[in-house]
Structure formats: C-alpha cells, structure tokens
C-alpha cells in the first residue's frame, strides 16, 4: 500500500531551539555506546585537557532535539508514521567539540525530499540539516540526516 509523501515540506525551516548540554548526559551517551574514553567520562582528565572540561563524543549532537516540538505531528505532516522510518545516512561536521554547561542554538531545515523505487519497494528520502551555534552565534557543528520512509 503506497502512500504519498508531502514534498511541500522541502525548504521548511523550524523555529530555532536551545539545548543546554548536561554533564551527566554526555557520560550516559558515551556509556550507552560502550565508549569509556576518559575525555568523555572523567572530569579531571577533561579539566587537564586542551578543552578545559570533558567533551562530547562525535555523534552526541543527535540528542539535540526540540523538546517542545511534536515529532508525531511532523510525521503526520509528512504523511507517514514512526513504524515506516529507517535511518539512511547521517553526517556530523564538528568545528569545536560540544561541552557540558554550554547552551547551543539549533536551527533545523528540511533540505530535500525525493522518492526512489528499489528492490525493497518504493521509498522516500527526507534530508534534514541542523546547524548548532554557540552563545556567540558561531556555528560549532552541523548535522545532516537522511530518513528513509518505506512507502
């Protein structure tokens, strides 16, 4: 049963949202991956490092969600539901490691939506980009994700 994907979302920009990084959240994330790097987990090692504090693992920005946004509403607007989603691709560019106690401002945008038919049926690809800026509005990281919707 093929469903239509709402391509009118291409170009849609979402309201900027702030994320404050909690020290414990970095450690919880590193431990969930099973990465015991002391630069993520040990405050003394972090303090003695060039960064002056612990830093976040390279994929940590994936936790930066807009907690006030209704993610189910986004999926409805797209014309799908969570059971149809797969993660296709992901990219992070990191100009400065993310650190605890910092508040970052995230700006997310739908940059493309396209459809393809392959051996596993019809699929839509939703490409979203997010920029992450620090308190002085300098972009410290970007992420780009491709969500696959099984149609």
């Amino acid at each position: 049963m093929a469903t239509a994907i709402n391509k009118s979302l291409i170009g849609k920009e979402y309201p900027p949202y702030p994320v404050t990084v909690e020290r414990g959240k970095i450690k919880e994330f590193a431990r969930a991956i099973g990465d015991a790097n002391p630069l993520y987990l040990d405050d003394r090692v972090g303090a003695a490092s060039e960064w002056g504090d612990v830093i976040a693992p390279p994929t940590f920005a994936i936790t930066f969600r807009d907690e006030t946004a209704d993610s189910a509403a986004f999926l409805r607007e797209l014309g799908t539901d969570i059971s149809r989603l797969l993660h296709g691709e992901q990219e992070f560019e990191i100009f400065r490691p993310l650190q605890p106690g910092q508040t970052y401002l995230c700006r997310a945008k739908v940059v493309d939506i396209y459809e393809k038919t392959g051996r596993s049926g019809s699929m839509a690809f939703v490409v979203r980009e997010t920029t992450i800026a620090d308190h002085s509005n300098e972009i410290v990281a970007t992420m780009r994700g491709v969500t696959v919707v099984r149609l």
Partner: protein, 144 residues
C-alpha cells in the same frame, strides 16, 4: 593503542585502524541507547511492533553503530579530533550480531596549519556483511 593520539607526521595513506569489536548486541544496550539518545522508536525495543512493521523483529539504532564507528576512529586518533563523520546505514544490525568497526587512511592534507587525515570507515557483522560505510576526517597535531 587505547585512547591513542597520533601525530600527522606518523600517519600514512593505507594505514589501518585497529579493529573495534562490539557486541553481541543485546536488547539492554538498545534500551540504554534509547534513553541516552532520546530515540524511543519502539521498533528498537518491542519485537511485536517491529514484526508488525514488517521488519522481522527489533533491530539496533543506526546511530548506535555510528557511535561504534566514531569510537573506532577516536580510539585511534584521540577524542576531540573528529572534524567530520558521515555514514550510510547499509544493513540492519540485529540482536546477537557482533559489529566490527574498521578504517583505513585514504588521504592527508594540510591547509592553514590544519592537518587533516581522511579515512574510509566501515562496520561489518559476523558474516562480514557491511552494515555501515562512510568517511571520517580527523584533525591531527604535527610533531613540529
């Protein structure tokens, strides 16, 4: 090599990262990753839901495998050295799968006193099927 920091000068095209072996993947790790990441899609937690969705049972978050790949890179290059990491999720990782992350240096460049090393990175399961493929760029210090 654990938590190593390598110098740009000592890296050569063709060098391989020490393989990082993760797993066997257990449900508890997926539950833990859901909590840590905020991705509570039931497809990674609830076998019945995942079967009804046509996925044949629960499978791991792609982002968990990407986290493994990130670790394989930083175990070699040092935490805080990753400038760019991009991957494609090529196949699904199931419970009990063993994921081995690998990488190889494919390029070196220096510009404005920044030394960049390009890596091809990938992760494979116990049947040597690639589950993640991608590229990483790390910034390394030089000896001088």
């Amino acid at each position: 090599m654990k938590y190593a920091k390598v110098y740009f000068d000592d890296v050569n095209v063709g060098d391989e990262l020490p393989p990082l072996v993760k797993g066997p993947i257990q449900q508890i790790q997926l539950t833990r990753y859901a909590g840590a990441s905020g991705d509570f899609n039931p497809i990674h937690q609830d076998d019945e839901f995942a079967r009804a969705a046509g996925m044949g049972g629960v499978f791991a978050h792609g982002m968990l495998s990407m986290g493994f790949v990130g670790q394989a890179v930083t175990d070699w290059s040092g935490a805080g050295t990753v400038r760019k990491l991009n991957v494609r999720f090529a196949a699904i990782v199931r419970l009990k799968d063993v994921v081995t992350c690998r990488g190889r240096v494919v390029g070196k460049s220096s510009k404005d006193d920044v030394n960049l090393v390009e890596l091809e990175v990938w992760a494979e399961n116990q049947r040597a099927e690639k589950v993640v493929t991608g590229r990483a760029t790390v910034v390394l210090p030089s000896r001088v």
